[in-house]
Amino acid sequence: MTNNYLIETRGLTRRFGSQLAVDELNLLVPAAGVYGFLGPNGAGKTTAIRMLLGLIRPNAGEVRLFGESLNGNQQLLMRRVGALVEAPSLYPHLTGRENLEVTRRLLGSDRNLIGLALATVKLTKDADRRVREYSLGMRQRLGLALALLNKPDLLILDEPTNGLDPAGIHEMRDLIRRLPEEFGVTVFLSSHLLGEVEQIATHIGIIHEGQLLFQGALVELQSKQQMRLIVGVKQVHEATEFLVNTGWSVQRCVDDLLSVSTKAPDDAMRINKLLVDRGVDVFHLAVSQQSLENIFLNLTNGTGRSE
């Protein structure tokens, strides 16, 4: 083991025909915690995940799991990985328990693991019902149980809350949040909803059109948040001219409200003092912080969205 990254990709690239689905992706997923792999639909998340699992082969680049190349070591490395890609793959004519038993037989693992996996996802009560009768949320949880069956060190989940109702989303989110702590598993999870990931992830990677736009700790992303100061003034033209001349970036919002780009909360005091000293009447002062959702949209749209 050369480093602490559970997942490391180097220049990972995959084309479908002339379309570049994943473009020189360099993922670094540290051990422990939850890594949120974010991007709009069609950004290349699923393609990237399928390459991590050896389901499709890259045109260029390399996947390393647990510090070792996936190429040639797949059987060995996959023993330590559990995966749920898109909708869970279940046999509807079998019961929940039988579905787990199919995978258990393939892996040749211990029988006790089935009960454990069922308990983890709270399906013990419904284990002997056919999957045909399961709700979408139950199916998703069973899919998670399949991924957890072999006690993996790394769990790869592709859009695990997709298509679930709010209760199902809540349940799934709670479950995923508990996993790193209770089972010591590192979770790599993809989503197209930042709000979804923001609540459980410790690290974030943002992918758009096959390219990684941001990668780092969640706090790092949060520090990128821009602040704006909304100032209400009587003398709009005079105030705008004065602030621009003193080096601030100013936009007119509506009527007599100005929006000023700021860096620190202290800027509010400074601007207020400047304006008042200048003899401008200030009647409104509010700090507005750009949400992460907007940062995400800005990064992935390429264009800023004004507030």
């Binding site: 995966a83 004519h93 393939l106 892996l107 040749g108």
Partner: protein, 245 residues
């Protein structure tokens, strides 16, 4: 070892499916047909030995029509359960060699076809014995050729390996019953034309029938088994290298 595990898993997947019923019902249809034929035949020549014609007839109908249909159905069923929920992406992300999954499918399909052919053999014996009791003209039928019937069942099955391998690949490669069934019906249909062509004797869907044709027995057996193994290896090579989208 992985193959044994994969086989073990395959058997559980068949629970509550139609697989075992189909394996039983198709030979039953032939047995019923044969039974009616024996009952309705007007006259039997004196000394007519039912065992010289009846088992061969049974197996020939089986070889030409029912078994190819059964192969198409069984392989489509075995692989349909993997296509329905895109199970391949789950299976192939497990630490299980892909060829183990492929050959487990093939072996289970072969097993079910063998089982069905043996069921036919048993029905053939039962129908024959019933016939000798029910028709006065058949009292001279003589002893039941158990060993001969068992051998024919085994030969027909071995000659079908090539068809099984082709169908296993088709039904894994393409999702959906129509394609698998279409291939089966097409294969059987063209056998009618191939039968009259000079190279027709090598046609995969005619191999089981050729077991009963003079001078073609050994070719049918060799090509059935050998071709079946080669086709299985090629199919496995192609399928396990595919991207799982």
């Amino acid at each position: 070892m992985s193959l044994v595990r994969a086989l073990h898993a395959e058997l559980l997947k068949l629970k509550r499916t139609l697989a075992f019923r189909v394996v039983f019902v198709l030979p039953l249809l032939i047995a019923l047909l044969q039974f009616l034929v024996i009952l309705r035949t007007r006259n039997y020549a004196p000394g007519f030995n039912l065992w010289q014609t009846h088992p061969t007839n049974s197996f020939q109908i089986w070889a030409v029509f029912m078994m190819p249909l059964l192969i198409a159905l069984v392989t489509a069923l075995l692989n349909g359960i993997e296509h329905s929920d895109k199970q391949w992406k789950h299976l192939f992300a497990l630490p299980v060699p892909r060829p183990a999954v492929y050959f487990a499918k093939l072996v289970v399909a072969q097993g079910l076809i063998l089982m069905s052919t043996l069921v036919l053999a048993v029905f053939t014996v039962i129908v024959g014995i019933a016939g000798t009791y029910l028709r006065l003209g058949l009292v001279n039928a003589g002893p039941v050729p158990y060993v001969w019937i068992a051998k024919q069942a085994a030969f027909v099955w071995l000659a079908s390996w090539l068809i099984i391998a082709i169908h296993t690949w088709i039904s894994m490669r393409w999702a959906g019953f129509p394609i698998a069934l279409g291939a089966g019906i097409g294969g059987t249909f063209f056998a009618l034309f191939a039968a009259s062509a000079s190279l027709g004797k090598y046609y995969p869907w005619l191999l089981p029938m050729n077991i009963f044709v003079n001078g073609r027995f050994e070719m049918a057996l060799m090509l059935g088994i050998g071709g079946g193994i080669v086709a299985a290896v090629l199919g496995c090579f192609e399928f396990t290298r595919r991207d799982v989208i």
